[in-house]
């Protein structure tokens, strides 16, 4: 589904991603972990070109998205993204937050989008908040709405950039629950997170990044039970 070849990214002189290649197949739930500054968020943001790679190619469903002529808006419509700080639009009601993109991009008609929004809101148990503004919601509610907003575009792939890092501890569970359901439905997911429990339970593959490289990867049980690299062992000993 996504094919990354020789991806490099530098900010000025600072090399954040160093010649990284990876393949993600449909239905996979790839969990990316690693210390801060390891490049995991940058890697994720390169996948939908929120960061422009300095070198290398990324192919999504056969389209080379790093090509200069690529229609990046059309490609992004097929990839949902959930941010650490939710990034809901504070000037709109929840309903409008969810329906804006599907309607404006011509994916759905207004009524269709409204119906879809209500269906999605019911699913995350927030239908009664449809006409509230983001400022009236808790962090956990905001993030569930952010997930729903991305899902309203019916994406083929969901990217999560530390979705629970800005939440109060007691709200982490409700967001992970929604992500788990999504995973069970077969959504392809790439998740940057510090939630090792989630990585173990939901992930089909864990990537450990450090210094702009993918140092080690494995299926979660083997990864956590038997890490190979010394750097991985050191990291896991600190976070587990």
């Amino acid at each position: 589904m996504i094919d990354v070849k020789h991806l490099s990214k530098s900010f000025g002189d600072h090399l954040v991603l160093d010649d990284l290649s990876e393949h993600i197949s449909p239905g996979e739930k790839v969990v990316v972990i690693g210390p801060s500054g390891s490049g995991k968020s940058t890697f994720l943001r390169c996948l939908n070109l929120l960061e422009t790679p300095s070198a290398g190619t990324i192919t999504f469903d056969g389209m080379e998205i790093t090509a200069p002529k690529a229609d990046i808006d059309a490609i992004r419509r097929q990839m949902g993204m959930v941010f650490q700080h939710f990034n809901l639009f504070p000037n709109m009601t929840i309903r409008k937050n969810i329906t804006l993109a599907p309607v404006r991009t011509g994916l759905m008609k207004q009524e269709e989008a409204e119906a879809e929004a209500e269906k999605l809101l019911r699913r995350v148990d927030l239908l009664e908040k449809a006409d509230a503004y983001p400022a009236q919601l808790s962090g956990g509610q905001k993030q569930r709405i952010a997930i729903v907003r991305a899902l309203a575009m019916r994406p083929k792939l969901m990217l999560f950039d530390e979705p629970t890092s800005a939440l109060d501890p007691e709200m982490v569970g409700e967001v992970l629950e929604v992500m788990k359901e999504l995973a069970d439905e077969g959504m392809t997911m790439v998740v940057v997170t510090h939630e090792m429990g989630f990585a173990r339970e939901v992930g089909t593959r864990v990537l450990f990044m450090d210094g702009g490289h993918i140092l080690e990867q494995n299926e979660p049980h083997a990864f956590f039970a038997d890490p190979k690299e010394p750097r991985t062992k050191e990291f896991l000993s600190k976070v587990l």
Partner: protein, 239 residues
Amino acid sequence: MEAWLADFVNGFTKAFITGDRWKLYLKGLGTTLEITVIALVIGVVLGVLVAVIRTAHDQQRPGRCSPVLGILNFICKIYTTVIRGTPMMVQLLIWSGVIFATSRNFTMVGALGVGVNSGAYVAEIVRGGLMSVDVGQSEAGRSLGLGYLDTMRFIVIPQAFKNILPALGNEFITLFKDTSLVSAIGGAELIYYAKAVGTKTFDVMYPYIGIACMYLAVVMVLTWLQGKLERRLRQSDRR
């Protein structure tokens, strides 16, 4: 005291009542407001256009600099530099004496001059406002597949507008008062008629203080409207 009161009544009558002179002030005020509204529209359109071009230019992804945007950005920079670097009086004189030297429509030339002047200031205010909106907002918009212009229109500009409303209100009030300069190029606005009345009655005190009160009253109405609008836009902040 009584003598003073008699003086006042006499002066006031001469300046405003005799020969229905109050109608002149009303006509002048009408022209002043007309200039203000036209200049406001020109200023806002120019300002937003320049601000969006300059922001779009600065926010291009590295390695994808559009040459068209580069040229437009350069023109915008010259525009703001020249306008902000020269007195409005000089600009008005150039508009009426050089560019539209043959035009007799001083009101429109004046409105154009004031509007073009205001645009440069509005542009900087709007640009500041666009930059004040968290970059995560436009990232969220773009990641949903919305284009640059849609993201600007529905997400960034409405939030920026709320942030810049106090500064913008200030600019509009300044613009309204700056229309008084149009009298210098022959525009028949409030000052023009106050001067005319003063010349006729050999007493400028009443006309001048009179129009000062009129300017003040309009500014107070504008300030009140601004406050009302701000409260309305804060709607989404309520918890």
